[in-house]
């Protein structure tokens, strides 16, 4: 349906219609004039010839004529036409004689006979009989006294009918029709070809423009069109190129600014890391010796020690985020038992007794994941639940053949609905007056990035029975357990 409304189709139809109308009109007018001319000419010639014959032979006819005289008169008249195509019928009252004996002369209609009887003028009629066209001419033979001018001519009562087949004329007219038809077909074909050419002239640039626009939409902003000629389409292409160039420049500037901002964050983190490495190395020394210092100094030293550790973690998280932003985060995939992984995550942080678990039996849920990143995901979600929710905190693992589902639920007040969309944002604090939490403020953002890197999803919601639920869905991506080599 779309193709029928296309420009190509419409152009072909329009050109075809114009060509057809012109050809039909021209053909029809030409045909009519030519046909009239041809028939008129042959008719005039025939009548003229017949009249001349009658003038010549009429005097030989005795009145009243006998049947044989009538026939002879008809034969003589018919014989004057060299090709012998004339058929002549001569009547006198009830008597008649014809050039072809036994010919019924069906072409000579009663109406024509009537017209000849009542008129002195020559009467003619074109008759189509049995698929052939014939010219029928009828006239009365008149007498006049030539020596007395203006004397009234008197009818002799002899009437002559001539039937001439018009096969030549018909063939001529038929040839005209055929020629007109052929010309029309040629004109139509030419019109279609021209329409297709014209459509191509328009459609090719339009298609190029459409493809180029789609490429730009796909983000390939360096797309440009070749501008040919100086018509409207060329102007459009030129405008397209200018727009694409402007877009490319703006996007490049934006990207450059964004990249600079990200590089700055990464550089700052990197630069902070070296002094932090030195400070982190000696915090244990500070902790050990603090007890031997006077209370104020000991407090100050312990403060520096604990805050150094926090700062190190914050910088570590910032570096991690920078790597996600730069697309430099990579997965080190290994197939592991997720239940065991969760148990180990809780165990290594001393949460085994504070967090309830609903885990499937060993090896029921195996997945190809980055174990370190999954450890971070679970630890951040559980840590967040313990910090902002209330106990009991439950970790549940489930899933099917393709997806593993990790659910962390707390029993706190839940998350307000206006906060829910923002929980995975960086440094997002739902309550600006809240006392500073232990985390870096990047924990959930890193969690979300880690899950996304695995091709999974994470979402936060309120549980109908109260509390917040964080749900992680991970594709399993398991390989078939096959052996690389069997001994």
């Amino acid at each position: 349906m779309r193709r029928l409304r296309g420009l190509r189709f419409r152009l072909v139809v329009a050109f075809g219609l114009v060509a057809a109308v012109s050809a039909v009109t021209t053909g029809a007018l030409t045909f009519r004039e030519a046909r009239t001319g041809v028939l008129q000419q042959s008719q005039d010639a025939t009548i003229r010839q017949l009249r001349a014959q009658l003038n010549q032979h009429a005097a030989e006819l005795a009145l009243p004529p006998e049947r044989s005289a009538l026939r002879k008169f008809a034969e003589d008249t018919a014989a004057t036409e060299s090709q012998g195509s004339w058929r002549v019928l001569v009547t006198y009252g009830d008597l008649s004689g014809s050039s072809a004996s036994g010919d019924p002369f069906t072409e000579v209609t009663p109406a024509l006979r009537e017209a000849v009887a009542s008129s002195r003028a020559t009467v003619f009629q074109r008759v189509r009989h049995d698929g052939r066209t014939s010219l029928v001419v009828g006239m009365s033979i008149l007498f006049s006294t030539q020596r007395i001018p203006d004397s009234v001519e008197t009818a002799s009562g002899v009437r002559v009918f001539l039937v001439v087949p018009q096969t030549t004329e018909q063939a001529y007219v038929d040839a005209l029709v055929t020629a007109a038809e052929r010309a029309m077909v040629a004109a139509l074909a030419l019109a279609v070809v021209l329409a297709l050419l014209a459509a191509r002239g328009v459609l090719v640039p339009v298609r190029k423009l459409r493809l180029a626009t789609r490429r730009v939409a796909e983000g390939r902003l360096d797309t440009r069109l070749a501008v040919n000629g100086s018509d409207e389409l060329a102007e459009l292409s030129h405008t397209f190129n200018e727009t694409a160039a402007a877009l490319e420049t703006s996007v490049a500037e934006l990207r450059e600014m964004e990249a600079r901002a990200r590089r700055f964050a990464a550089d700052v983190s990197h630069e902070l890391r070296t002094p932090l490495a030195a400070m982190s190395a000696v915090t244990d020394v500070l902790d050990e010796d603090a007890a031997r210092l006077d209370p104020d100094t000991a407090t100050a030293v312990r403060l520096i020690s604990t805050e150094t550790v926090k700062l190190a973690r914050l910088v570590d998280d910032l570096m991690e985020i920078s790597r996600f932003d730069a697309g430099a985060a990579v997965l080190h995939l290994d197939e592991i038992d997720l239940a065991e992984s969760i148990r180990r995550t809780l165990g290594s942080r001393g949460w085994t007794d504070t967090v309830e678990t609903e885990l499937p039996p060993p090896h029921a849920v195996r997945a190809r994941v980055d174990p370190r990143r999954i450890d971070v995901v679970v630890a951040n979600l559980v840590g967040n639940a313990l910090k902002h929710g209330a106990r009991p905190v439950t970790v549940r693992l489930g899933g099917d053949d393709t997806v593993a589902v990790i659910e962390v639920r707390d029993s706190g007040p839940g998350i307000p609905s206006d906060v829910l969309p923002h929980v995975f944002e960086r440094f997002y604090k739902s309550d600006s007056a809240r006392i500073r939490s232990e985390g870096s403020g990047l924990g959930l953002a890193i969690t979300a990035e880690n899950v996304r890197l695995h091709g999974g999803t994470v979402r936060a919601a309120g549980h109908p029975a109260g509390g917040a639920v964080f749900t992680v869905e991970l594709p399993l991506r398991r390989a078939e357990p096959t052996e690389e080599y069997r001994p």
Binding site: H270, S280, A328, E340, S348, T482, Y485
Partner: protein, 231 residues
Amino acid sequence: MSRVLLIEDDPAVREGVALALRRQGHDVAAAATGEEGLERLRSFRPDIVVLDLMLPGMTGLEVCRTVRNLDQTLPIIMATARGDEVDIVVGLEAGADDYVVKPVLARVLDARIRAVLRRAAGAAPGAEGLPKIHTYGELAVDRAGLTVALHGEPIALAPSELRLLLTLTASPGQVFSRQQLLEAVWEHDYHGDARLVDACVKRLRTKMSEPPRAPRYIHTVRGFGYRFAAP
């Protein structure tokens, strides 16, 4: 007490780490460049090298390869920034036994050093009751003398490689997951970097002249881990 050679270019980090390690009871020699570190290697004769990967001049990787060429068995721990993913893999393949991510707490670094040194000294767990010397095909493992020979020729293994081989050969046919090996050989936690295992297996196979396509002794079980089988 162990002798630790620390190669680190940043003076503050070098001083801080050296101080902390000394407090943990180590004898520490510090070098600011790779060249200086190789120099101290001969004079100080350390038990273990702690090597920063980002060094001016001769890079940490070059130092690592040079140390390995001089001594196949000297333990090496790389100190690296997380995110230097390529360097970690290349460093492990160059023969490092373990790595730490900076900034690192002194007690974490100390624990790693002690774990690596235990590898060099002790038998693998689960090996009690096994004969002291056992042969598997052309491979002879001496659990008392901590030596390995192939076709009668001794092969020099770094501590991690030796410990890995002892662990795998203690239960031939048993499949070990990477996590199990990380815990048994490296004393890392469950979520440690499995690339340590893969790189170590690769080095071990190379030293045992295993055909790359069809290893005879250490088999990869896709999706699960590794197992040892005598041919």
